[in-house]
């Protein structure tokens, strides 16, 4: 079981308060993703849960028992680090066996678990190599293997895929999701990759400067962002946030329209502008439209890949009123 509850947890490094009082509930078996801009305290929060940092105040409970004062090893959590943190002088087999050796598990049980993990993670052929002789993806799998043999209450991942190339990242992402489906163990996953957050999470926690801005399922956050920050953070490319006269005419201080919710026409529409850069992805094209009276930022608009426009063309835009987000002067959803 891996139910983790944070109650009024704060963390300061000397004078600097990194995490203001924060409450968070993580249910058993959930896949929770922490996202937020760099330096917002994602890693710190994860390390607090792991026990690698001491909380300044507040309580952390795991499965209902207070774990605030427990040493990392006693919390029953396993962590996968961004740098993998494998032990370079031990073979893959010994790396994976290390936590079990520390727990003094019987030899045959150790062997059984190593074989099972190696099979699940495609590491069987590499068990006798050193980490230095493995590729990045293989190293990451060893790190995951070392975590799963402990059969922990929950897994903690700190940007585990950010050192991998794009193709490998997609593959490993699927493997981790597969693992979660199979083990149904709680997983907490830190990333600043949009796509990872949206595709993997049961629940996304959006952080800004240590504050939780919103907690919800990926689609909740996509359809109903609680404020401008979440609106701008979730979704790729970013939501267009428009202030001023145009926003007021829709009855809000700021309106947000996602690039995919704007219709494009060469002949008519309420908004008009000039085509700037166009990013062709094949299936889709993202056009940056410069226009007068709606701020300096160009609007990003998604069109079908077949749609052809040239730089400097004049086009007309029709936002989808039903999918428009309205925010008040404080940036909160109206």
């Amino acid at each position: 079981m891996g139910r983790i509850t944070l109650e009024k947890v704060t963390k300061s490094f000397g004078e600097v308060n990194v995490i203001p009082p924060l409450d968070l509930e993580i249910d058993d078996g959930e896949f929770v993703v922490f996202v937020g801009p760099s330096g917002c305290g994602k890693s710190t929060l994860l390390r607090l849960i792991a026990g690698l940092e001491d909380v300044t105040s507040g309580d952390i409970a795991i499965d209902g028992t207070n774990a605030t004062e427990l040493a990392p090893a006693q919390r029953g959590l396993a962590m996968v680090f961004q740098s993998y943190a494998l032990y370079p002088h031990m073979s893959v087999r010994k790396n994976i066996a290390f936590p079990m050796k520390m727990a003094k598990l019987p030899e045959d049980e150790q062997k059984r678990r190593i074989d099972a993990a190696a099979k699940a993670l495609n590491l069987t052929d590499y068990l006798d190599r050193r980490p230095g002789q493995l590729s990045g993806g293989q190293r990451q799998r060893v790190a995951i293997g070392r975590a799963i043999v402990r059969e922990p209450q929950a897994f903690l991942f700190d940007e585990p895929l950010s050192n991998l190339d794009a193709a490998l990242r997609v593959g490993m992402r699927l493997e981790i999701m597969e693992l979660h489906k199979r083990l149904t163990t709680t997983m907490i996953y830190v990333t600043h990759d949009q796509v990872e957050a949206m595709t993997m999470a049961d629940k996304i926690v959006v952080l800004r400067a240590g504050h939780i801005e919103q907690v919800g399922s990926p689609l909740d956050l996509y359809h109903a962002p609680r404020n401008e920050f979440v609106a701008g953070f979730i979704g790729s490319p970013k939501m267009n946030l428009i202030k001023g006269e145009v926003a007021r005419s829709h009855g809000a201080a700021t309106i947000g329209v996602r690039p995919e919710h704007i219709g494009v026409s060469t002949t008519e529409g309420p908004w008009q502008g000039v085509v700037g850069v166009a990013e062709h992805l094949g299936s889709d094209t993202f056009i940056h439209v410069h226009q007068h009276g709606m701020g300096d930022e160009p609007l990003t608009v998604r069109v079908d890949g077949e749609f052809t426009v040239k730089h400097g063309d004049r086009i007309f835009l029709t936002p989808d009123e039903t999918k428009m987000h309205r925010f008040d002067t404080n940036g909160l959803r109206a």
């Binding site: 690698l52 990392p72 090893a73 396993a78 962590m79 943190a85 370079p88 520390m102 070392r146």
Partner: protein, 290 residues
């Protein structure tokens, strides 16, 4: 073709340096070899004659030789053990954050900058002297009979002095090794349930292996030829209790004016040093492979 050209040019360019080095090493070596086969005594100049293996036979059958050999090995081994173990522990301590870290680190390194003769004199007169030394006073204060370190345990005393000199070197090298250890590895081990002692044994020590090897190899080179400390403190005595090979050779050639015998001793010392080197490389050399 260009590479062949540049390789030839490179050879030409470095040849003066190589020749100089060769001369620097080869000429003294050859002269030592040559002298070692002569009957060459400074008291009888101009009467050198070829002596065959006599010098070697005398040197090797001298009862002082076995003593010196054992003393040399004890000295090297003792200092190595004390400095690597002590250096590891000190480095571990200095790696922890504490107040006044900078000053303490400089203080720890300070003994390395003291000349061997000076430090040996300081130890001899200010610490180990049974009448005036600090240890003597300490023994008095405790109501014990003062212990005359240099005459009752001469070799141990010299091992102590030399260890004091070399401890900073070992500490410094091992401290930098500690600092290059990835903190995440330690954290991972902590999460894996390894208590402090296991973390030291399974994570830190293997990481230090290479640095420890370097410390041992470099120190061995210098410790095989310890001389000043012995000359200043015990003069190799009492008897041969603190005579090492270097000191024996010195006695042979400069106190007994027997250049031939001293040279033979020198050649034997070179051979022994190489045996020690081969032995060491066999034991710990693999730690140096990346």
């Amino acid at each position: 073709m260009a590479t062949q050209h540049s390789r030839a040019a490179a050879r030409l360019m470095i040849s003066p340096a190589v020749l100089l080095l060769l001369g620097w090493m080869l000429i003294p070596l050859c002269m030592t070899l040559y002298f070692s086969f002569l009957r060459y005594n400074l008291l009888m100049p101009g009467m050198e004659e070829f002596a065959g293996w006599t010098n070697y036979r005398f040197f090797l059958t001298d009862p002082a030789f076995m003593d010196a050999l054992v003393n040399t090995l004890l000295l090297v081994g003792g200092v190595l053990v004390i400095t690597t173990v002590g250096g590891t522990l000190l480095a571990l301590l200095l790696d922890q954050p504490f107040w006044g870290q900078g000053i303490v680190r400089i203080l720890v390194i300070a003994p390395f900058f003291v000349m061997p003769t000076v430090s040996a004199l300081v130890w001899k007169n200010m610490f180990m002297n049974p009448v005036n030394g600090l240890f003597g006073h300490l023994f008095h204060w405790l109501g014990l009979q003062p212990y005359d370190f240099l005459s009752q345990a001469p070799l141990m005393s010299i091992i102590g002095i030399v260890s004091w000199q070399w401890l900073p070197f070992a500490t410094l090298i091992l401290l930098t090794a500690f600092q290059s250890l990835d903190q995440e590895q330690l954290e991972a081990a902590e999460m894996d349930g390894a208590p402090a002692l296991s973390r030291f044994w399974y994570i830190m020590l293997p990481h230090l292996a290479r640095a420890i090897t370097v410390v041992i190899l470099i120190q061995t080179i210098f410790l095989l030829s310890i001389f000043a400390e012995i000359l200043v403190t015990t003069n190799g005595g009492p008897g041969t209790a603190s005579t090492n090979l270097t000191y024996l050779i010195y006695m042979q050639s400069l106190l007994q004016f027997d250049v031939g015998g001293g040279s033979a001793g020198g050649v034997i010392a070179i051979i022994l040093a190489n045996i020690v080197a081969i032995f060491l490389m066999r034991m710990i050399g693999k730690n140096l492979d990346a």
